[in-house]
Every structure is written in C-alpha cells, then in structure tokens.
Symmetry: C2
C-alpha cells in the first residue's frame, strides 16, 4: 500500500522506518511545518535524519501537500488534541471523503468525535482502523473485534505507562511523587509536560475509545470520570502494602461507567504490572477474562500496531 504519514514524531518516524519491511511504500510524510512527497517512495533514513536535525525541514513542500499525494492509506500520527480533535479530524475527513483508508495513531478523532468519524467512514469506500490509539503494541481492539464487541462486557486496565512507572517506583522505593516524576523525566519515561499522563487524561481518552467500540452510545473525554495520580502519597502506598495491595491508575469501561482513577489492586495480582507496561483485561461472554499486556507506548511498538492495521486493510483488498 502507498502510505501518506501525517505527523513525524516518534510514531510517524517509526512507521516510515518499518513500512518497507511490511511491503508498503511511504509516498508522503508531513510534520507541522513542511512535507516531503515522492511517488516512488520517500527516503526513510533521510526523513528521520532531517527530523533529528532541528535546523532542517522534513521537506520542501507544505504539510497539506502530503494530503494531496496519491496514497492508499493515510496514517494519522499527529499529536492528540482535545475538543475538536483538529487538525487530525480534518485529515481523516479529507482522506475518507476521497475514499482512502485511514489508520490512526492519534487518539483525538476517535476519542472526541467518534460519531463524526464513524459517519465519514460509513460514507466512504475507505476503511478506518485505530489499534495504535489504545495500548500501543498490545492488540486490544483487534482482540475485541475478533471476539465481537457485543460479547465484551467490560474492560479495565493500566493504560498509561508513565503513570504506572511513577506509581510502581513510588511503591518500590517509598519516594514522593515529585521526586519520582523528576526521575522519570530524566530517563525519558515522562515528558517535560507530563500533565496528560499524570492527570489521567491520556488513560481517559483510551477509555472513551474503548467505550465507543464496545458500547451503545458515544463517549468523549467529558463523559469520563477522571482522577490522576498527583495526589497519591507514599503513605497511601505503604498502607496498601501492609494489606498485600498496591495502587495503580486503572481505567474502567463497563455498561454503566467509564472512569479512570487510582485504585487498590492486589500487589502480586495481574493488574499490578510494573514500569511502563500496560495491561488490559477483557471480560467476555464465553471466553472468560482475557489479559493482554505489553508495551503501551514507544515509537517502534506503536508503529507496529499502525502497520498491522495497514496489513489488515491490504489483506481485505
């Protein structure tokens, strides 16, 4: 398939890097300031090298040139935005309206404007997939699709690796939140502005997406009850430990609730993953409880989910 990749951050670059090994050709890449378009395939190494060099642009074209390229699949990997989910939503709209396929790594369009995206997809000859928006490399949505969304009764899990790293390190070392967050920023696990990770917003967006997929009505961030980890004190973790428990930031999606917050979980239980690992539990009608865990973030891991979606679309042609 010919791919146009919107967004050249860690995920976009990894998609460009891995695409050829899946038999696909990247014909366009755009970041927020420029684009490179080449119908015979862009030079992946050169694109990534130019992104590393702050002084150079990714290409000589305008970002919108990528949307005008002759592609089969639009890979939307621009940063997630709240509310109107722009510019991601507009990119999705343009691609689907032109009967192209869309694969999302950007959570915004399916978390904040799910009905709108589904309407565009229904009217398009193109397909829409968004595995990479929930759980990174973990095949959460593909597994729900395989089981049948109406046979999945509830989903819960650890959906943000940064928050999980902070909580598990606080518990293991008895350290204060601010201290561990600074550590996490130093090793690159937390971003300079970690707000969306630690206040629960990122996990809440993933829960909204899961609720949209398995539920009967549309959710967005406003419909999710959200509490983050900034208020979790070492003393609370110590108290939990004396009872064989620990605290994790758990997202929950059920028939009557969609919420994110710090929860007590058994210290040696399935949900108490450590470090940046994500885990998702599906409660199913006939298959019992399924647990899926792995890398919930990272460019290469998330790109693997994007490209598995592209492969799926290719298989259906």
């Amino acid at each position: 398939m010919r791919l146009a990749v919107m967004g050249a951050g860690a995920v976009g670059q990894a998609v460009v890097d891995q695409a050829a090994s899946h038999g696909h050709t990247v014909v366009a890449v755009a970041d927020s300031t420029s684009a490179v378009v080449d119908g015979s395939g862009v030079d992946a190494a050169a694109v990534c090298a130019r992104k590393r060099d702050a002084a150079s642009e990714i290409g000589t074209g305008a970002p919108s040139d990528a949307l005008a390229a002759d592609y089969d699949v639009l890979v939307e990997a621009t940063p997630t935005t709240l509310g109107d989910a722009e510019p991601g939503f507009g990119h999705v709209e343009r691609a689907l309206s032109a009967d192209r396929h869309v694969v999302l790594a950007n959570k915004g369009p399916v978390a904040e404007r799910y009905a709108g995206v589904c309407e565009l997809a229904a009217a398009s000859a193109g397909s829409l997939r968004f595995e990479a928006t929930v759980g990174g490399a973990i095949p959460v949505l593909a597994t729900i699709e395989r089981i049948g969304a109406d046979r999945v009764r509830a989903v819960r899990g650890v959906l943000n690796g940064t928050a999980n790293f902070v909580l598990s390190r606080m518990a293991a070392a008895g350290l204060e939140y601010e201290h561990v967050l600074a550590e996490a920023q130093e090793v690159g696990v937390a971003e300079a502005d970690p707000t969306f990770d630690v206040d629960g917003t990122d996990a809440a967006l993933k829960c909204a997406i899961l609720a949209n997929v398995i539920g009967d009505r549309e959710y967005d961030l406003d419909g999710v009850s959200v509490d983050g980890i900034t208020g979790v004190a070492p003393s609370a973790l110590e108290l939990a430990e004396t009872d064989g428990q620990t605290i994790r930031l758990i997202g929950e999606v059920g028939p009557d609730h969609v919420r994110v917050g710090p929860r007590l979980v058994p210290a040696n239980g399935t949900l108490a993953v450590s470090g940046t690992t994500n885990i998702v539990q599906l409660e199913t009608e006939h298959a019992g409880r399924l647990n899926l865990s792995g890398q919930g973030a990272g460019g290469a891991a998330t790109a693997s989910a994007v490209l598995a979606d592209v492969d799926h679309i290719a298989d259906q042609q």
Copy 2:
C-alpha cells in the same frame, strides 16, 4: 455459515450451543457412533440433551453422514490423536478436497501432520484456521497472524491448565503430586486419565503447532523435547520458594528449540499464573514482549475461539 461439527464432546457441544448467536447454522453434528443432519439447522438443545443421556444416540445417521451434509465450514472437534492424527486428518482432507472451509479444535492434524494439512489447504478454495488448538480462548494464533509470523522470534508459556493447577496447588499447600492430582480429578480439572496433561504431551503438541506457524520447518511431537510434572517433588517447590521462585510447566518455541518441561520462574512473575489459567508470551521484532493470558481450556471458552475463526472466514467471503 452452515457448520458441520465433527465431535460432540465439551467443545463440539458448546459450538452447537453458541453458533446461532454468531449467526451461523449447525446443519450436522456427529460423534463417534452416530450423527444428526438437518439442513434447516439441528436442534441444539436436543443434541446436548441426548449427549447427556448415555443411553441415547446423537441421531439416527452414521457419523459419516455429517461429512456428506451441505455445509460451508467443517468444525473438527474430535479428540486429538497422535501419529496419523486420524480420524481428524481424514475429515480435514475430505472437507478441503471438496473446497469447504475447516476450523480445527483438534490439535492432531496441525501438530502431527502440518505439512500435509497445509498442502491440502493450498490446493483448496477453502480456508483453514485453528486458533482453538493453542491456548483455548486466548487469541494466540490470531495475534501471531496480526503481527506477522516472521516477526515473532520466540514463544513461551504455560499451555496446560491441568498441569498448572496441580503445580500451583502443590506449591500453595505443600502437598504431594498424587494427592493434588486426585483432588484435581475430583473437581473435574483433571481427567480420569490425565496422562497427556501431566506428562507434557498436550503442551508439546501446542508447541509443535506454534513452531509450525512461526518457524521455517515442520515439527511434530517427535521433534519436541518433552518432560512432564510427575517427577516434581514438594521439596523442589519449597526450595524454589525460598529463592522467590516457583515451578511451572513451560513450553518454549525458539529459532533452535521446541521443548516442554518444568522450569523455575519468578514466583510473582508474569509466567507464574495460578490455577488452570494459561499464559503465552510472544517475543516480537518491534512490539517487544506481548503477554496473553486467560482460559486455556473448557468447552465454552474453546468454542468461542472456534466461532471467532468461523466469523473470520465469513468476513473474508
């Protein structure tokens, strides 16, 4: 899809029971002595009731009548046999030769005669799927397919719930193997003849299937190094515990080895699932390590995997 179900044990009956909720029609069911064929759909409740009554036959036809029925998908759920994998292999051969689809719950054909089955599938207009043969309800093969078999470098896991129940109960209660096995038989977790579960054969067949799917050459049971749990002493479990470890029956598939045996694993680690839970770890090229766990056996759970395969085939039409 119209299903012919060969085998009316726990899995076959559960397939018959669940098929309608997936929109499929069971037009034939056979056990080893008789069959019922009804082009408008067999009476699921009546079939299951007749199986519970030892004095009655499942139907008035011969078992082979089911193979002659007008079906789209053959569900092969007869007991797994070693060596020539008959009668399962013959059923698969007949269905694929007639350009019908085949979904296996029976491990024999894909563990013992994989090349033969693949040859038949390649020459057929029908598809072949066998998710239910590895890990019951856990979508192991679908996940490998999604990632791409050549991007999965190794697989390891707990692939037999009976053996895991025995080992985890021995470790928790400090009891001898024979005592716990008798308990397991009493609660229905172990069969009257538990040989294949406790000597590692069942896990080895699953490893052969995994090796066949991800590897470059064909494996069968003879190619797998197998050790069971009958020799695991409570003293060994105690010794492991003093070091923060425990013992699990682990199946491993890598580039140079396919083996099953008792292994030391961290007592609170991912592989130390308890009870009858199964877990599979995939080591992947770009997606890191993925862990999938859930119900590895049971009629309803395994039937859910069979029907997800049938749904997949239906979606491809």
